[in-house]
Every structure is written in structure tokens, then in C-alpha cells.
């Protein structure tokens, strides 16, 4: 057993400095497209190629709705795209329903319990959420803990479009949570149904069933974006925007 102790000590600290400092390592985020201006032909092509309708146009100006972006990269790759690209990860945002669940007061600032419900997620979102419990992101240092029961959960983390068969379990888990409580939707599917919903078997996201307070876009959102969402839930970080409509310099 002593070998393991030595191994652990030798490994040193791997955990990110975020939120104290921004994470600068590469490969922590796939990025998101941002608003852009282009020629008539480019604009037309980009709107046409976007499979989920996340890119919209007004004149020659393009805006991006992050509720729908599924990281297909079709607006980025291919011929000379004018699309901007945001390589950050602070993407979590309050939604129009924020406050519907009587959000958490300042007593929760330093510690919250999280219950995760899989509403038909593909596995990538779940894998990214799992990373929060692992050395590189380690959410415990921030006072965030996963709990096996909704009865002691403050935040409900939901990924996936909410499939037909998961509607009842999700509603039950939500109802079992004591107030005050928050719902956080993780990933494009949970925000808008993504590529799956709405259909005969999937909803168009979690907000169809229960009010969502914090939305984390991405397909999947990187762990740092989910941490940003949790920090936003306890008001230790400020909200980003769910649409990109201003062309950055």
C-alpha cells in the first residue's frame, strides 16, 4: 500500500486553478462559434449548413443561439468561414425561468449538494460531469458534492433531451428535492432537445417539464463550463449570454 501513497505524492497537484485563475491548458474546451459578418453567399451557406438552426441571419450579420449549437464544426470547417470562434468555457447563463424555483440563498454559497439525473444523455455529457469528481477538476475543493438522493440535493443537474421514459423519474426526483432548489440543464440536448428532440420519444429539453435556472450550452459542455454553471448557481460567478449577436473586434 505504501507504494500507492508514494505514487500519489509523486503525482503532485494536477487540479486546475479555476476559478481563482483562468485555465490556460489547451484542449480543455471545444469552443463555440460567435457572431460574424459575411458576404451574402457566405451568410446563406452558413445558415443553410447549420443542422440545428443555431445560426440565424439578419442582413449580412450572423447570430448564434447556443441553445442549439451541437459542435458539428460545419460552420468552422470548409471554405473560408467568416465565423468567429470563442475558445473560452465560461458559457453558463441564467435563463428566463431563473428564480422560478426560489433560488439558493447566500447560506448555500460555500457548499451545495448535487443530484444528477440522466434524461437520455449520450454519455459524453455524463463523462464530462464525471470529470468534476476527478483530480483535474475536483469540485470538492469548491464545496460541491454529489449526493445519491434528491432528498438532500440543492441542485438538480440534468443532461439529455428528457426521453419519454425518463419524464416520470425526472419529475419525481425534482419533486422530492426540498426547497430552495435549483435546476441546471447541461448540454445542448437538455437546453433544446439538440439533435434528438422534439420527437415522438424526446422532449425539446428539460424546461418542457421543469423550470430551469441555469443553462450550460455545449455538446458536451467541457467540465470547466459545468463548474462555471455551478459557480453561477451560487452567485460566485456572473452569467454569460446564451446568444452571440455582437461581432467581436
Amino acid at each position: 500500500m505504501s507504494k500507492w501513497v508514494i505514487k500519489g505524492l509523486r503525482t503532485g497537484i494536477k487540479t486546475t486553478q479555476y476559478p481563482r485563475k483562468m485555465e490556460t491548458a489547451s484542449g480543455v474546451s471545444p469552443g463555440l462559434p460567435t457572431a460574424a459578418k459575411g458576404t451574402e453567399k457566405e451568410v446563406q451557406e452558413l445558415v443553410f449548413n447549420c443542422p440545428t438552426g443555431a445560426i440565424e441571419r439578419s442582413g449580412n450579420q450572423l447570430t448564434v443561439d447556443y441553445n442549439y449549437c451541437i459542435h458539428c464544426f460545419r460552420c468552422k470547417r470548409g471554405s473560408q468561414s467568416p465565423m468567429g470562434w470563442d475558445y473560452g468555457y465560461e458559457w453558463a447563463a441564467n435563463t428566463k425561468d431563473s428564480g422560478a424555483n426560489r433560488g439558493l440563498g447566500s447560506a448555500f454559497n460555500r457548499s451545495i449538494n448535487i443530484r444528477f439525473v440522466d434524461g437520455g444523455a449520450c454519455g459524453a455529457c455524463i463523462s464530462e460531469i464525471e470529470q468534476l469528481n476527478k483530480p483535474y477538476y475536483n469540485m470538492h475543493r469548491l464545496g460541491f458534492f454529489a449526493t445519491p438522493t434528491p432528498r438532500e440535493a440543492d441542485v438538480l443537474l440534468v443532461a439529455g433531451p428528457v426521453t419519454d421514459h425518463m419524464r416520470l423519474p425526472l419529475k419525481k426526483a425534482y419533486d422530492a428535492m426540498p426547497t430552495p432548489k435549483l435546476v441546471m440543464a447541461v448540454g445542448a440536448c437538455a437546453l433544446s432537445g439538440g439533435i434528438f428532440g422534439p420527437s415522438f420519444m424526446s422532449d425539446a429539453g428539460v424546461s418542457e417539464l421543469i423550470p430551469v435556472d441555469v443553462a450550460v450550452p455545449g455538446c458536451p459542455p467541457p467540465p470547466l463550463a459545468i463548474i462555471h454553471g455551478l459557480l453561477l448557481a451560487v452567485k460566485r460567478k456572473s452569467s454569460a449570454l446564451l446568444t452571440s449577436s455582437e461581432v467581436r473586434g
Binding site: 507504494k3 500507492w4 501513497v5 505514487k7 500519489g8 503525482t11 494536477k14 491548458a25 489547451s26 484542449g27 480543455v28 474546451s29 471545444p30 443542422p51 451541437i70 459542435h71 458539428c72 464544426f73 460545419r74 470547417r77 443530484r115 444528477f116 439525473v117 440522466d118 434524461g119 437520455g120 444523455a121 449520450c122 454519455g123 459524453a124 455529457c125 455524463i126 463523462s127 464530462e128 470529470q131 469528481n133 476527478k134 483530480p135 483535474y136 477538476y137 454529489a146 445519491p148 439529455g160 433531451p161 426521453t163 419519454d164 421514459h165 425518463m166 423519474p169 439533435i195 434528438f196 422534439p198 420527437s199 415522438f200 420519444m201 424526446s202 422532449d203 455538446c219 458536451p220 467541457p222
Partner: protein, 534 residues
């Protein structure tokens, strides 16, 4: 099994043998060059033909595809591997009004879940099957509404029926003191949605009744009527942890139909990325096994390697889970030479760490106590239940799609298929480590001699037709059947995934073990419900 895998392939004269055996009832078309054989037979002999392939010629069952065509229904049983290798499609046609068909799951147990699924989704009753009924669609779905039928409208949510409040799941164990322990669908820290009913009389789990398809998103149905490019997005996103493998299988099927030539560089890079995904998956699975035994230090060590691979994937391709890479005719991006160099350098460092971890784990007796002789699956069971991937190989069933149906240039590579005999949790862990090592070996071989050129074709046309795409996904053999219509839209898309095949055999491992072994056995199987439920 071991022998048939490595034996030089010998294409049997299938048409002659089968014509003599069932005169006038079977038509056989063999494509000599591509090792695909179509057998069109009479409904009355389909069970015999399938049994002949499975029991006598040592073929494995791949998939059962039902197509609801305009004037008739077409059922195709697909087999692969075995003596002579290649693929065999056994098909028969029935009229649209036919509702009963023969069941073959009493002969080939691997077909069991396929028949149950099709009964639910198409309303076809398999005569003689002992357990049809709520499977994919749960009890709140009205009987007689079959979503895979051509006339079903998938765009709107369906109105559910009231469930009888006295409804209880089926119980099998009837003895004094027996009780049922439900697990799921919301359980554990970050587990996927699935439900297990464990029947027990105390400490040991006697029966396991899994209830899956909580995550059924109807991928096969919502793919219908869409352009192939859109369906690639579905193939990529229905199981995010094996996105590259599944999108590759679909692309290969469509490329096959349309005769699209994939440039050599794209073929080589597809292998690199597929193996990178396998490596990441296996290390994630190892972390899962360590975590299931509550071995925190080892979990952390494996997780560090997993995250490093995720970041490496992000740097190389822009996406941590390799989304958006496979397109028809190749890849959407090229990897520069220095990126390949960086990959090779990183993998060298990673292998050193992985070997250290392996050594430490193999000499930690408290950890091994939880794995050894736990959750054993015999070779016989693995064959009869049609298990695939690392789970099957840990039981001695060494069938690897990369060897038996080589694709994308695997036939030119020098690698071994690691196998074990015991079939227990420890054997599965050893297979994961050995396969991870082979993946790095494959990446190094390909990266050292990458052909130059472009990674996709500038123009091509999608032709109508049908084809099967296959791939050895990280969790095992995966088959994508696709039929493309005249307008380039998908008419039928059938997905057979390794998680679906292996969950079917999961109860073999977990029954007759204690409660506390259950999460460990589950972790050593390393399956995904998203991949299984589709």
C-alpha cells in the same frame, strides 16, 4: 475460436451446399471479392439455415434487420466471421399483413433481444418466443402502436395510456423470504439511467431482471427521411463515448453503397482516431473499475490519464470526444505532421504511466480480491449469448472485427487480439490493459508511415441502395445497416451496438454473486446505456 480467427480465409462454396440441402427453397448470391453472401430463403427454412450457419459453420450473429417496405416486409439476419469468414445475410420476405414469424432465439440465444425489440417496434410476433411484451416501450405505451412502422408519425409526442396502479414487474423467484431489490433508474452518483430488479433471499443475487430503454430516443426512426449528412450527426451523438467508431461505421456503409473512394491518408487517420478513442475508453473503463472497488488513489491515477487523453483529442481535433470528424469520403480535417509527432510523444509518456499503474494494480491484493473469480462468464455462454468486444475476449471468444472483417486498412497492420480464458472481472481488466497497449502500437505503426494527399474527396454523389457498415467500437462489434432512397434520403437505419449485445449477457455474470459485487461486475463490463438504448 482462436484457430478460426487466424486461419487463412477460405470462402466456402456456400451456394452449392445450401442448394443441395434445401433444394428450391434458397437462392444464394456470393460476392467473391467482398466476402458478402446473400441468401434469400423461404420463411419455413429460415431457422434451419441460421442454425446451420451458427452451429455448424461457427458464424456469429450480428444483427436482425426488419424493413417495412411499401409492398412487403423484409427480414434479414446478418452473420459474420467463422469458417471462411465474410458476411452472410439470410433474408426472407413476408406480406404486409403477416404478423407472426418464426422465432429462432431458442436456437441462437443472441437473437433473443432483437426479437423482443422488433415485437415492440414493428408489432411482429415471433412464434415460440417465451417472453415478448414491454421491452423497448414501457408499460405506459399503448399496445398496438408500433413506432418503427412506416405509417407512424415520429414528429409528435405520443399520448400515453394510464398505467394500471397495481402493475408490478414480473417476478421469477418464488420462495419464502424472497424479495426484490430495485436499483434505478436514478441511482449512484453519475450513473446512466437504467433499472435493475435484483431478486434475492438474503445476501446473494439470484436473478437479475434489467429494465432498459429509459434512454430510448428512437434514433432509427428519427433518422428516416433525413439526408445522410444529418444521420451522421445522429450516429455520432447517440453514444458520445464511442462517437468516432459509430460515425465511421455509418460513413463506411454509405461509401460502400455509393462507391465513394476514401483517400489513403483519410483511411490511415481514421485508424489513428479510432484507436485514440478506444484507448481513452479503455482507460476510462479502468478508472471505472477502480472506482467501483472504492480504490480512490488508483481511480485518480487512471482518471488523470483519461483527462490527458481528452485534452490531447481536443488539441488534435478541436473536440474532446472526436465529434464532427467523420464525413462521407473521409475526414473533415487533416492532422499536420507536427500534430502527429506530438501525439506519438504524448502517447509514449502515457504508456509509461499506464504500465506503472498496471503493475501497481496487479500487485494490490485487496483490489484483486474484489475482481478475481467475480462475475465469471464461460466461453460457452459468451458464444451462445453472442457477446462481443473486450468482455467476450476475456472469456476466450477472440472475435475482433478488425481481424475478421478488416476495414479502413487494418489488414495491413501488425497487432494482436489480446484474450483471456477465465472470463472473470480480473480477466476483463487485463484485456482492457492489453488492448490499450495494442491501440498505442497501432497508432505508432500508422503514424510512422502516413500516406500524403488529401483527406476527403471534393465531389461525390450519394447513390441509392443498401449496405452494412461495421466497426470494432471500443466496446465491441457494431453494425450499421442503412438503406438510402432515390433522393439520397435514409429509408431505414438499423443500429446494432456492442452495449446492446453485451447487456443481454450481463445477467450471466452478475447472478449468484453477492450484492456488493454487483457494481464491480457492472464496471468490469463497462457498458453504456446510451449506446444500448439508442
Amino acid at each position: 475460436m482462436v484457430q478460426s480467427l487466424n486461419k487463412a480465409t477460405e470462402w466456402l462454396n456456400l451456394s452449392e451446399i445450401s442448394a443441395n440441402r434445401w433444394p428450391g427453397k434458397i437462392k444464394v448470391r456470393c460476392k467473391q471479392d467482398r466476402f458478402i453472401c446473400h441468401m434469400e430463403c423461404d420463411k419455413s427454412i429460415v431457422a434451419d439455415v441460421c442454425n446451420w450457419l451458427f452451429s455448424e459453420l461457427d458464424y456469429s450473429f450480428a444483427s436482425l434487420v426488419v424493413e417495412d417496405l411499401a409492398s412487403e416486409q423484409l427480414l434479414t439476419y446478418i452473420f459474420y466471421g467463422g469458417f471462411g469468414n465474410g458476411l452472410i445475410c439470410v433474408s426472407y420476405r413476408i406480406s404486409n399483413s403477416t404478423t407472426t414469424v418464426p422465432s429462432i432465439s431458442n436456437l441462437i440465444h443472441a437473437v433473443d433481444w432483437h426479437e423482443r425489440e422488433i415485437e415492440d417496434l414493428f408489432g411482429l410476433v415471433f412464434e415460440g418466443h417465451p417472453r415478448l411484451g414491454d421491452f423497448v416501450l414501457h408499460e405506459e405505451w399503448p399496445e398496438g402502436i408500433n413506432p418503427m412502422r412506416a405509417d407512424f408519425d415520429p414528429s409528435n409526442p405520443y399520448i400515453h395510456r394510464e398505467v394500471d396502479p397495481d402493475w408490478r414487474p414480473l417476478r421469477i423467484v418464488q420462495s419464502p423470504g424472497a424479495f426484490m431489490m430495485p436499483i434505478g433508474p436514478v441511482y449512484s452518483d453519475f450513473a446512466e439511467s437504467a433499472h435493475f430488479l435484483l431478486e434475492t433471499v438474503g445476501e446473494d443475487v439470484i436473478r437479475i431482471i434489467p429494465r432498459f430503454f429509459y434512454k430510448y430516443r428512437g434514433i432509427e426512426k428519427i433518422a428516416e427521411g433525413n439526408a445522410v449528412e444529418h444521420v451522421i450527426l445522429l450516429a455520432e451523438r447517440f453514444s458520445g463515448t464511442s462517437a468516432f467508431a459509430h460515425s465511421l461505421a455509418l460513413c463506411k456503409a454509405v461509401e460502400n453503397i455509393s462507391g465513394i473512394e476514401v483517400p489513403p491518408r483519410a483511411k490511415a487517420l481514421r485508424i489513428v482516431l479510432a484507436e485514440l478513442e478506444r484507448l481513452r475508453h479503455h482507460i476510462g473503463a479502468i478508472a471505472g473499475i477502480c472506482s467501483s472497488t472504492a480504490f480512490a488513489v488508483a481511480t485518480s491515477q487512471a482518471s488523470i490519464l483519461e483527462e490527458e487523453l481528452l485534452r490531447l483529442s481536443g488539441v488534435l481535433t478541436g473536440h474532446r470526444y472526436l465529434f464532427g470528424l467523420n464525413i462521407l469520403s473521409g475526414l473533415s480535417i487533416d492532422l499536420a505532421d507536427d500534430a502527429i509527432g506530438m501525439l506519438a510523444k504524448n502517447l509514449r509518456g502515457l504508456m509509461v504511466e499506464l504500465n506503472k499503474l498496471k503493475k501497481l494494480l496487479y500487485f494490490s491484493s485487496s483490489f484483486l480480491d474484489r475482481l478475481e473469480e467475480v462475475g465469471a462468464v464461460s466461453l460457452e455462454d459468451a458464444v451462445s449469448h453472442g457477446l462481443v468486444g473486450p468482455v467476450a475476449r476475456a472469456s476466450g471468444l477472440l472475435r475482433d472485427i478488425r481481424k475478421v472483417l478488416p476495414y479502413s486498412g487494418y489488414e495491413k497492420l501488425d497487432f494482436t487480439v489480446p484474450g483471456e480464458e477465465e472470463g472473470d472481472g480480473y480477466a476483463r481488466l487485463r484485456v482492457l490493459f492489453a488492448e490499450a497497449e495494442q491501440s498505442v502500437n497501432i497508432i505508432n505503426q500508422v503514424a510512422s508511415s502516413l500516406p500524403p494527399g488529401s483527406v476527403n474527396a471534393k465531389s461525390f454523389r450519394i447513390a441509392p441502395g443498401e449496405a452494412l457498415g461495421w466497426v470494432e467500437a471500443p466496446r465491441g462489434a457494431s453494425f450499421h445497416w442503412i438503406r438510402v432512397g432515390e433522393d439520397g434520403r435514409v429509408l431505414r437505419y438499423r443500429l446494432t451496438t456492442p452495449s446492446f449485445s453485451n447487456w443481454h449477457g450481463f445477467h450471466l455474470a452478475a447472478e449468484n454473486f453477492a450484492f456488493q459485487d454487483f457494481p464491480i461486475i457492472m464496471a468490469t463490463f463497462g457498458l453504456s446505456n446510451a449506446e444500448s438504448d439508442r
